[in-house]
Each structure stands twice: as C-alpha cells, then as structure tokens.
C-alpha cells in the first residue's frame, strides 16, 4: 500500500510531464542522490570506490550514450569504444597543447571532437542499416585503434600510444583521492543523465524513436532522417566521448589505446541490451550488472569450487568467467529480451497493485 498514486491528481500538463510524475518516486530519487553524494563517501572504502563505483559511474555514462543511439534511435553500433578513445585522446591533446585551458573545457572539447567524428562515421547510416551499419561502426573502431597506436602526434610522441595525466584541478578543486574522483564522476553523471532524459522526452527524442520504429512514416510526417540520425550519432558520441575522457583522466590517469578496444565496444552494447534498450534507467542497470558480474564471479567461483573440494586455478576462474558471462547473456536475451529495466517496471506495476494482485 506504500506505493500508490491514488489521489495524486495532475491539474496541468506541466505536472503531467515531470520526469517522475509519482510522488514516491521523487522522494526515492532524492534519497538515493543524498546517499550517493553524502552516504557513500563516508561509508565505503577505497577499494570499492576504485574497483566498482568509479568504473560503474563512467561506464553508465558511456552506456547512456550508446543507449541514445541504439535504444532510442535504433542504429546499432559496435564502435562505441572508438568514440571513448577519441574523447580521451582529444581531451588529452587539448589539455597538453593549450596552456591554461580549464580541465572541464578540455573534457567538453574532447566530447565535441568525439561528436564530430561520430557524425562522420554515422554517414553510412543514411544508406544502410542493421548489421551493415554495425560493420561501418567497426570500421571506426579499427581505424581509431590504429591511429592512436601509430600516429605519434596524437600521443605527444609517446611510445606505444601510452599517455598519462597528473595533477588534475577543476575550479580549484584538486581531484586526487578516490573520493574526489568518485564525487566528480557522480556529479558529471547526474548532469548528463538529466540532459539525456530531457532530450528523450522532447521533440528530438521523439524524432529518434520515430526513426527507430518506422522510418518511412517518420519522413512522411516531416522528420528528416538525415538530421535525426546524425544528431543521434552526435549526441551519443558526445556522451561516450566524455565518458572516455573520464575513463582516461580520472579513472586510469595513464592509458593506452587498448583501454578502448573492440572488447569495450561489445561490453557497452551488452550493457544497454541487458539493461534495457530505450531506457535511461536501463543504462544504469546494465552498467552495474556488467561491472559487478566479473568481480562477483571472481570471488564466488573459487569458493564454490571449494565447496566440492575442487580447487579452481586462476586461469580456470577466468575461463569459467567467460562461460558464465556468455551463458548469462544468452539467458537474459531468452528470458527477458527487454532487459532489466522491463523487470523493474513490471515489479513496479505489481507493487502498485499490491497487496491485491488483480
């Protein structure tokens, strides 16, 4: 009976168009944000921040970007890692080549560069779709892999494409400890998630979804496929690109192109599919699932083996990890093709009716 919207009447369209029209949801989100900003830094140790929470935040941002393109606009991409790389390396170049450029500006410029590259590699989407487009985005992936490995200018002549940054300051705030890093990433993610939500509930989001659902009909009612698709590529690449800058600057602080390989691209696609295509919330679920799963398996499998008196070697664990990971993906696709977000909304529906199931 806790979760009821009875009696919450909307008297204006503005009230009806809020992000969280149900009062309980608004309170829940306020509580969650308070806990994330205040509670977690007080409660959680460094390992948890470094190994789980920071990667989770940054990959959520990247997954948001991928979801805009794949989930909302229906254009499949296997090259998200490439745009992370472009974001990270572009920001790096702005950072070292322009003296005194504020860090935030470098990050945003990195994102904008990724957006421009994204538009370029999105051009094939005007001619082809589905799997063919996936191949076009893979082209972006392999091209950037090569560029950052072999063209010395982009890495300031560092050998093997490895670069590093240090002494990061944002508006006088020294980002050094894991807690600083966590808070910075969290703040960034909250802002960007809000922007993503706003876009998907406005005209531009409807254009994307219309193209996804029925592109011919979309054109007939006056949506230009060129603008809709390329804007999706641009916005998505911007999100993914800034995630790349955070991943490089904040999380790794020294990195090489392998950090943004094709495996990363697949990982991001898994996140949005498992989390839920076309759902902002789903991007977070997917990122959490994919970040936590390998760590959990790593902890769990040896213990599980010990239960039966079998010692599983480190190599054995990593093989078993692959198997369980692959099997879980297949399981999810079969049991809930709409992802965790759908499970969540079904659970909410049930809760609404609880304790009277009919």
């Amino acid at each position: 009976m806790l979760y009821r919207e009875n009696g919450q009447f909307k008297t204006s369209y503005a009230a009806d168009q809020q992000i969280f029209p149900i009062a309980q949801d608004r309170w829940a989100i306020v509580g969650l944000l308070l806990f994330a900003f205040v509670g977690i830094p007080l409660l959680v140790d460094e390992y948890l921040l470094r190994a789980i929470l920071i990667p989770f935040l940054i990959l959520s941002l990247a997954a948001l970007g991928v979801n805009i393109l794949v989930g909302f606009c229906g254009q499949i991409t296997l090259g998200a890692g490439a745009f992370m790389a472009v974001g990270a390396y572009a920001a790096y170049n702005f950072h070292i080549r322009i003296e005194g450029l504020p860090l935030l500006l470098s990050f945003l410029l990195g994102g904008l560069t990724a957006a421009a590259v994204g538009i370029f590699f999105g051009i094939p989407s005007l001619r082809v779709r589905g799997l063919y487009l996936a191949v076009a985005t893979l082209a972006a992936q392999f091209f950037t892999d090569w560029v950052f490995l072999r063209v010395p200018w982009f890495t300031d002549n560092a050998s093997s494409g490895s670069v590093s940054v240090s002494n990061l300051q944002v508006l006088g705030w020294q980002i050094a400890t894991p807690v600083d890093k966590y808070l910075f990433c969290l703040g960034w993610l909250v802002v960007f998630a809000l922007l993503a939500k706003n876009m998907t509930r406005s005209a531009i989001g409807r254009q994307w979804m219309a193209i996804r659902d029925m592109d011919v009909a979309a054109e007939v009612i006056g949506i230009r496929p060129l603008f809709a698709k390329l804007s999706a590529f641009a916005v998505s690449s911007f999100f993914v690109g800034t995630a790349g800058t955070l991943w490089g600057f904040i999380h790794l602080s020294s990195w090489e192109p392998a950090a943004f390989s094709v495996d990363r691209s697949f990982q991001l696609l898994f996140m949005v599919i498992i989390g839920g295509l076309g759902s902002i919330m789903g991007s977070f679920f997917g990122a959490a699932f994919i970040v936590i799963l390998p760590i959990a398996l790593n902890q769990f499998l040896p213990a599980f083996g010990g239960l039966f008196g079998v010692t599983i070697s480190t190599a054995g664990v990593s093989h078993a990890e692959l198997i369980v990971f692959g099997a879980l993906i297949i399981f999810f696709l079969i049991k809930e093709p709409h992802g965790i977000a759908r499970l969540w909304s079904t659970a909410k529906e049930k809760l609404r009716l609880w304790p009277f199931p009919h």
């Binding site: 369209y13 503005a14 168009q17 922007l195 706003n198 876009m199 406005s202 005209a203 531009i204 409807r206 254009q207 979804m209 219309a210 996804r212 659902d213 029925m214 011919v216 009909a217 979309a218 054109e219 007939v220 009612i221 006056g222 949506i223 230009r224 804007s231 916005v235 076309g278």
Partner: protein
C-alpha cells in the same frame, strides 16, 4: 453543409510510375479541389496506394507533374510534402510502436517545433513552453477522436481499430490542409466504420481539410465523397460525382468482371 468547395489545389498531370518495367500507373491525371472529399477506388492492384505514395513523395514517378497550389513538382519528397501541409494515414498502420499515444501524436507536431536540441536538452524556457503548447494542441486532437482513456498506452498494445484512430490522430496533429487516407476503414466492424466515417466528415466539415481517400467499401465511398476517381490496372477509367461513376459502363465492367 457549411463548407464551400473551392478552387483546384492539387492537380496531377499525366503521372506514370513503374517499378523496373512493371507499370503501376499509366498516364493518370486528375485534380483535387479545396475542401472536397475525393475518393480513389478500384479493384486490388489497381494502383491506388501507389497514387497516394506519388502524391506525398514516397514513390517517384517517371513522368508527369504534380501541381500543388500552383507550384509545379516533377516529384515530391515526403518532407517537402509534409511542409506543404499534406499528411496521411497508412493502410498497414505505420505507428511508432514503442511510443505511447501522446508521443505518437506529438511527432505530428514536429514540423512546428522551433526550439533547438540544446534548449531541449536543458528543458529551457522556449523548449519547455513549446512542449506544453503542443501538448495542449495534441489533447484537442485526443478529445476530438475520443481516445482520452488510452492516451498513455503504448500503441503496440492497442486493438486494431484504435490503432487506426491513433494513426488518423497523428495525421490530424499536423493540422494538414490536405489529408490522404489509405483505406481508413479496412478490417473494421460496422460500428468502428461508422465512427471513422463520422470523424472523416467532421474533420472535413470543422477544419475544412481537403481529403483524398482510398476505400474498398463502396457504400461508404459513394456516401461521403464529393467526387470519385476510378483506377484499373494503373489506368484511369472513370472520374466524376458518385452517381456518374456508378453509371459508367467501364467501371461496372472493371468491378463485376465481363460485360453484363
């Protein structure tokens, strides 16, 4: 009736369309007058849907001209057509399945949106105001079509008859001057057909919208349209008021087979 049939606003001249050697339309000419209800009829495969697709630019005819309010086009494109105030519904309902009814209708307002991507991302003054204004407009269409109860239902979950209505709603949300309806009553039961007829007549009457419609149900066509074009095998075989067409021997042959 209060409406006055006006001048010719859409004129098709000698339109021919073929798909790799197969002729879909051969040398077809007819015109549409402002505020009228113009029907296109014909047996299956006569080229009716192709005709609508030529008018709003989904198909590109090899020959012929389309004259819209005095402007001559050798071919339309769907975006230009939409901007010129042509909207349409689809035979096999082409709604956006992943969106709810309100959002589907809101897409119809797309051409009228002025705020840009950045403003929308920040839910900024103009973007927000616009969103509310268009929502109000969409609610008018919802009221008009009597679909208030399903406004937040994803269209994929709606029964066929209601989907057809939402399809019409999306076209109406564009506030078109010319509305193309591709078999709006196909597959409906009698009640649904009556409702749909009422909506079509109301649209025409209240908003003065010019309507071009394809329909199989002869009784309905003859009842509501002002003039009728008859196509058979991609050729025009009759054109005129319902009574004239009904008396046309060629039309009778096309519909009933061999001569009687």
């Amino acid at each position: 009736m209060s409406r006055q049939i006006g001048e010719v606003i859409l004129d098709l001249k000698n339109v021919s369309l073929s798909f790799g050697g197969v002729k879909a339309l051969t040398d077809i000419s007819f015109d549409v007058r402002e505020h009228e209800i113009r029907a296109i009829i014909g047996p299956n495969g006569a080229g009716k849907s192709s005709m609508l697709n030529v008018i709003n630019g989904v198909y590109r005819p090899q020959q012929g001209d389309i004259i819209l309010r005095g402007r001559r086009f050798s071919r339309m494109n769907p975006y230009e057509a939409a901007k010129a105030g042509i909207s349409r519904t689809f035979q096999n309902i082409a709604l956006f399945k992943g969106m709810n009814v309100i959002d589907n209708l809101m897409t119809g307002r797309n051409l009228k949106i002025r705020s840009n991507l950045i403003q929308q991302a920040f839910w900024w003054g103009p973007a927000r105001r616009e969103e509310l204004a268009h929502r109000a407009k969409v609610e008018e269409v919802i009221d008009f079509l009597e679909i208030q109860h399903i406004r937040k239902t994803p269209v994929g979950r709606l029964p066929y008859g209601l989907q057809k209505r939402v399809d019409l709603g999306r076209a109406l949300a564009m506030e078109p001057s010319i509305l193309l309806l591709d078999e709006p009553m196909a597959g409906m039961n009698v009640e649904e057909k009556q409702d749909m007829c009422r909506f079509i007549l109301d649209v025409n009457d209240q908003f003065g919208t010019t309507i071009v419609l394809i329909e199989h149900d002869m009784a309905v066509v003859m009842d509501i349209s002002d003039r009728v074009v008859v196509l058979d095998y991609g050729k025009k075989i009759g054109d005129g008021a319902p009574d004239e067409v009904r008396a046309n021997p060629e039309v009778i042959t096309a519909y009933l087979g061999a001569s009687h």
